[in-house]
């Protein structure tokens, strides 16, 4: 068997069913083996698309996403997706071809030191130098990607290694390592802190997406309010009255007030990112922070943890749920209910109402993927996420162009329709993947909220740069997205008013296979609430100062 066949047999043994890639010179022996493999290969039109598709695949399944690229530019095109997967802790296996071992280090045609390049943006990477090592290394790479805190792993395979013969056995998957249980002493200490809390709050992050049942149990028994971070949306049902919303820069009034005033904060599977905390010295100033995470490097990295608990999120929450009793905090809840009622005013027609209208047409089982920008924050604010692993976005890296390919990967993984919500700027960064949707008839319903601007940058220029709109105007040169879709032989729809949108949504969602919906919205709307960069959560602007009644502008000094 060749090194290439060993690779595919190993992937098969590990249950890989799909992979996303683009061929090229230095990976041709692997593509020759793919020709005979039962694993379905999805041909993307740019390697970055393959990387994001693998991310979407991994996020909805909780399993491995696999992408492939050739050497040199093929491999470097994966870089953005790998960095994205690293920050959002997604288990990705990236396979790259490279020039033959005899040519490595000679500046050969299409040579790039991709293991060197991706060292800081992968959990680990490997360069295989012998066909005998292929199966062993690939199995180890998959184990690393999926174990503990997941992350991307890259395996670089020179062309001669792909072609060489090997008798080495195919390595079978290892049983999953036992989950990391919390220490009894830590759980008891946490319970003691909670028992005495007057204003407790629970925050669930992306690392709690497999702990949502335990979190629900814990929240229901304790009666504690629950906040879910951008990456944690869906880990607690948005329809539940104990849910306060999302924290941080564009979080809800209730969530940010609760954090600013709480006395005990339990953070689970979250990393206190700067977009969540705002100014760290003002973050949860009065709280004792219990931080549950299985990555000890996250404990006290940015926010000092009063009680760090090194454990799997579900294990820790189960242990807490088993022993917690009902907390009587009626005064706290009176405050929370008051804050929950404070929501920014939405215009009758604008990006927010358009996204709300789309959201209303969906079911609670629909997978929703966003791109990066204003529409991302508005989708996070407006769509009620009821279950985990149904919300995909580029949280840590903020990668424009994430949406379309990630939605594609999520749809391939589940066989279901997937809703994509992008902007006119971000959608164009990976728009070529419309061809992939067409090729495989992937039912991605792709909405483009077109405000003719790079809206989030424009918002910051409006607020912090005296409306000096530098290089953010797109309307004069945007394509007509419905016509663009039809050029890819995908049905395209356009709506410019609320009434048109109601009609267009029906046609868009009921079209067979992929469909594109362009929603033209007013240019200069901004996303609120907002915590200005460098400010504390308690300094949040509840609404656009232009809209707000004077007494509603809650800027505390």
């Amino acid at each position: 068997m060749t090194g290439s066949q060993a690779l595919l047999k190993t992937l098969e043994a590990h249950g890989v069913r799909h992979m996303f890639g683009h061929p090229g010179g230095a990976i041709m022996p692997i593509y020759d083996a793919i020709y005979d493999s039962p694993i379905q290969h999805i041909l993307v039109r740019h390697e970055q698309g393959g990387g994001h598709a693998a991310e979407g695949y991994a996020r909805v399944t909780g399993g491995l996403g696999v992408c492939l690229a050739t050497s040199g530019p093929g491999a470097t095109n994966l870089v953005t997706a790998l960095a994205d997967a690293m920050l959002d802790s997604l288990p990705i296996l990236a396979i790259t071809g490279n020039v033959a071992t005899t040519l490595l280090g000679t500046d050969a045609f299409q040579e790039a030191d991709i293991t060197g390049i991706t060292m800081p943006i992968t959990k680990h990477n490997f360069l295989i130098r012998s066909a005998d090592d292929v199966s062993k290394v690939v199995a180890e790479a998959i184990r690393i990607a999926l174990s503990g805190r997941p992350g991307p792993v890259l395996v670089d395979i020179p062309k001669d290694v792909q072609q060489a013969q090997t008798d080495a056995p195919i390595v079978q998957p290892k049983p999953k390592a036992a989950r990391l249980e919390p220490k009894e002493k830590d759980i008891l200490e946490a319970l003691e802190l909670m028992k005495n809390a007057k204003k407790p709050v629970l925050i669930l992050g992306g690392g709690a997406c497999d702990a949502s049942e335990a979190a629900y149990q814990f929240a229901k028994t304790s009666g504690m309010p629950v906040i879910t971070t951008l990456m944690g949306l869906g880990n607690f049902p948005a329809s539940d009255k104990q849910w306060l919303g999302m924290p941080g820069m564009h979080g809800s009034v209730a969530a940010n007030r609760a954090i600013s005033q709480c006395d005990v904060l339990i953070g689970v599977g979250m990393r206190f990112d700067d977009r969540v905390t705002g100014k760290t010295s003002r973050f949860a100033k009065n709280a004792k922070i219990i931080h549950i995470d299985l990555d000890s490097a996250e404990h006290s990295k940015l926010i000092p943890a009063y009680l760090p608990i090194l454990a799997d999120s579900a294990a820790a929450l189960e242990a807490l749920a088993a022993k917690i009793s009902k907390l009587e905090t009626p005064e706290w809840w009176a405050n929370l209910e008051d804050w929950k009622a404070r929501k920014p005013k939405r215009d009758e027609w604008g990006a927010a109402s358009a996204i709300k209208t789309i959201s209303n047409a969906l079911t609670s089982d629909d997978i929703v993927v966003s791109d990066v920008g204003q529409h991302q924050m508005l989708t996070a604010q407006e769509h009620p996420f009821e279950h985990p692993r149904l919300w995909l976005n580029s949280g840590g890296a903020g990668t424009m162009g994430f949406c379309l390919p990630a939605a594609m990967g999520a749809s391939i993984a589940t066989g279901k329709r997937v809703i994509g919500i992008a902007g006119d700027g971000s959608s164009q960064m990976t728009i070529q993947e419309l061809a992939t949707l067409r090729k495989y008839d992937i039912p991605v319903k792709f909405a483009i909220i077109n405000n003719g601007y790079l809206g989030m940058v424009r918002q910051w220029q409006e607020m912090f740069h005296d409306k000096r709109y530098s290089e953010v105007y797109l309307e004069d040169s945007n394509p007509d997205f419905a016509i663009l879709a039809s050029a890819y032989r995908i049905p395209g729809f356009t709506a410019s008013t609320a009434a048109e949108l109601e009609v267009a949504i029906k046609a868009w969602l009921s079209a067979d296979g992929p469909a594109v919906l362009e929603v033209r919205v007013p240019n200069e709307h901004s996303v609120f609430p907002m915590v200005p960069a460098g400010k504390g959560l308690d300094e949040m602007l509840d609404d656009d100062p232009k809209n707000a009644q004077p007494e509603k502008i809650a800027v505390s000094r």
Binding site: M119, P120, L127, D295, A297, H299
Partner: protein
Amino acid sequence: MKHIFSAFLRDEPRVLTRVTSLFARRGYNIDSLSVGATETKGISRMTFISEAPEGMADQIQRQLEKLEDVLKVINHAHEKFVDRELVLVKVRVTPENRLEIRQIAEDFRARNVDVGRQSYVFEVTGDEGKISAFIEQMRPFGIVETMRTGRVALTRGSNADMPSQVYFDGESQALEHPLTGVAND
């Protein structure tokens, strides 16, 4: 505050690059770094010194331990340790000063490893203070060049006899191999 760490690394390609690239991208300052083979095949040991506040020292240890090829990191602030450094010093000699130089070297227990008519090369081992003092003593005579290995450190075995030399809650671990209980597959 200066922290002295020991790290156990798998002998894999680029392992040192992985470690130093992590230091660089996370902004950790490294004063010295010294690596060598251990008694176990396939495992290297590195001693490195970093000027870091307490919180950052914990981060250095934990971020390093996240690297797949780093098996364990010890912060020597937790138990007393011995540390040594070796330096080679090439110094100019003249018929007038060679006796004085040899006398100073003897006081420092430095070994004369190369004797020339115009120069000596001394080898000195000791802690950082002794090495720096020796270099300062030699400087007026005219140092041609020097090379220091950087400090290397081990936990004191005597910590097991003297609990006061252990600064964290629990027993001294000085009589156990540092990799006891660490999975390495």
